[in-house]
């Protein structure tokens, strides 16, 4: 991996589900340390796009590079990319049969081959960072949604990734729990993590995004810094979308 190359470089990406053209010629470059917020109506392909980056979805044409390493059929480079790209899901996807601590130490021990003691020390550090070290011995099922999502963030951080992908991290949460998760994400952003967030939280976008990207029908329609994006959206579809999310 070449740390001087762009963190993510997507060129002319296309993806089909059968006859449905889900991604249409996506071009996107994210530099190291940059925070990008992706928004758009549901079905616009935003989740599909970020899921292509770590190959939870396979793309049909175009290229994706992570720090200069090409995402392709080579398993070794895919392993390398997944080590450096963490992901936080809408449904948390914690492992229900393991404690919070085990959730956080599993991948570092198996993938990064670090000792249990080191993995647990790292895990406790990140659990403190997301403010739930006291829940380490509990099972995910015993935690609230907000707590589970913070554990999921800690679990991703334990791999010490260069890039974090967020796939609608607050969409499955009760309103009163959204803030605690966003707070953690803001802290991460301020510390310089490279982040690509698919989210409808426009307040979060205003606060931390370097760039906001608007997608519709599998295309990137508009991209701009948050000030311009919110005050002077150029495209009609963007304006319509913004009036819907911000309108009430």
């Amino acid at each position: 991996m070449d740390m001087t190359a762009p963190a993510i470089e997507i060129t002319d990406l296309n993806k089909y589900y059968g006859a449905f053209h889900a991604l249409r010629g996506i071009n996107l470059t994210v530099s190291r340390g940059e925070k990008v917020v992706v928004c758009g109506p549901s079905g616009s392909g935003k989740s599909t796009m970020i899921r292509c980056i770590n190959q939870l979805e396979e793309h049909d044409s175009g290229t994706i590079q992570v720090f200069g390493t090409l995402v392709d059929d080579n398993l070794a480079s895919l392993d390398e990319i997944r080590r450096e790209v963490g992901m936080v899901f809408q449904q948390f996807n914690l492992f229900p049969h393991m404690t919070v601590l085990e959730n956080c130490t599993l991948a570092p021990m198996l993938v990064r081959k670090i000792s249990r003691a080191d993995a647990e020390a790292t895990a406790m550090r990140y659990l403190e960072k997301v403010r739930i070290p006291d829940q380490a011995q509990k099972f995910p099922g015993q935690l609230s949604g907000g707590q589970q999502q913070r554990v999921a963030i800690a679990r991703a951080l334990c791999m010490q990734p260069e890039i974090l992908l967020f796939d609608e991290p607050t969409s499955a949460l009760d309103p009163e729990m959204i803030a605690e998760v966003l707070d953690v994400m803001v802290t991460l952003a301020q510390e310089g993590m490279t982040m690509v967030c698919v989210t409808h939280e426009m307040g979060f976008a205003r606060k931390v995004a370097d760039r906001v990207i608007f997608m519709d029908k599998g295309e990137i329609i508009e991209e701009a810094p948050p000030e311009t994006f919110f005050s002077h959206p150029r495209n009609e579809r963007t304006r319509l979308f913004l009036s819907q999310v911000l309108g009430h």
Binding site: N54, Q55, L56, D79, R82, R83, V85, G86, M87, F89, Q91, N93, L94, F95, P96, H97, T99, L106, A107, L110, V111, K138, F139, G141, Q142, A152, R155, A156, M159
Partner: protein
């Protein structure tokens, strides 16, 4: 969960009982009638099995008939035939010891602290070696005893354990192949499973015992017992594979995605994330399959092995005890009961244990 009886107060509990059993004239009537039926059956069994029964090795058909109840003397006289079959009489202590070894191995494997690959492998390898040495003999001054002469409880336990121990990895393999991303592999595995499931166990056992020797090269034929075991294991695997597949289907897609995103390899995902959760979901059906496998050990008699039930059958086939078949069957049934009931209770314990922290409330 609804409030169970132990979360209610004493008065509420009494009230619930009264309402449940005597809440209306009809339910009061049903309570009285079924109570009477249960009491009658219980009394008949007690009367036959205990009050009027004959115990001790000196009972005969005449004394038993005079007492009117069960003739447990048949067990006192013939228990060694029932438990050990035609295993040489002087060597039957080896059979008893072998049973104890299997028992210890099973009990050890049930303890959660033994649940690591290394420990289980050690216990099972040691157990198998000791069992085989004891039963087969030919070393350490033990008289050799051919597999054809094994019988009774050790044979039943051996068939059951071997079926499960060989069958389970096969089942996991078949289930994993069936969910392969490659349609050819998935389909072939599906065909194998469906083919085995569409054959009766008896046909498989006969094929392994009688037909296989004509088809296999000499060095592969081996002892009949092991060929038959392989057939039983294959049969077990086909059913168990479908049970595990059911477990796979209950796991949310996000679990594997999260594991992939963390960089876990296929095998790490399979053994750390997918299989543990699949087995949790499939536990009740798996215990059921074990129970069926235990019962089906009795089918092996058709290819000429004297397992527990067959040994019981021979115990009353001699002239003097022809009348006492009921007692022998009750005795054999009690042995099956101990194992199967233990298995079911252990399954219930596992379920309770796995639910700790797994469910939210």
């Amino acid at each position: 969960m609804t409030a169970s009886s132990h979360t209610l107060g004493r008065a509420a509990r009494l009230r619930r009982l009264r309402r449940g059993y005597f809440g209306s004239p009809l339910s009061a009537l049903m309570t009285v009638i079924s109570g009477a039926v249960i009491a009658f059956i219980g009394w008949v069994l007690l009367d036959w099995g205990l009050v009027n029964a004959t115990f001790g090795a000196d009972g005969t058909q005449e004394t038993c008939a005079a007492n009117g109840g069960a003739c447990w003397s048949v067990i006192a006289v013939r228990w060694r035939v029932i438990l050990f079959g035609i295993y040489p009489y002087e060597e039957q202590w080896r059979s008893a010891l072998a049973c104890a070894v299997v028992g210890v191995v099973i009990l050890l494997s049930c303890l959660p602290r033994m649940w690591s690959f290394g420990r289980l492998a050690l216990v099972w390898t040691l157990g198998t070696v000791i069992f085989y040495t004891l039963m087969r003999g030919g070393v350490f001054g033990l008289v050799p005893v051919n597999e054809q002469q094994w019988g009774g409880l050790p044979l039943t336990l051996f068939i059951f354990v071997a079926t499960a121990v060989i069958g389970m990895p096969l089942a996991i393999g078949l289930a994993l192949l069936r969910r392969s991303d490659y349609p050819v592999i998935a389909r072939v595995s599906g065909w194998i499973i469906d083919t085995i499931r569409s054959l009766p166990l008896l046909a498989i056992l006969f094929t392994c015992a009688i037909v296989l020797p004509f088809m296999l090269p000499g060095f592969l034929i081996g002892e009949k017992l092991y060929r038959v075991l392989f057939g039983a294991a294959l049969f077990f695997a086909a059913y168990q594979a479908e049970i595990i597949r059911g477990g796979f289907q209950g796991i949310p897609k996000g679990q594997e995605e999260a594991a992939k995103a963390l960089g876990l390899t296929y095998w790490q995902r399979t053994f750390r994330i997918v299989l543990p959760q699949a087995f949790r979901l499939a536990l009740p059906a798996t215990i059921n399959q074990f129970v069926i496998a235990f019962m089906e050990t009795s089918l092996i008699v058709v290819v000429g092995f004297m397992e527990l039930l067959a040994a019981g059958n021979t115990a009353f086939k001699t002239g003097t005890w022809k009348f006492a078949y009921a007692e022998v069957y009750v005795f054999v049934a009690a042995i099956y009961f101990v194992f199967v009931f233990g298995l079911s209770r252990y399954g219930a314990y596992l379920e309770a244990r796995m639910n700790v922290g797994h469910r939210k409330d």
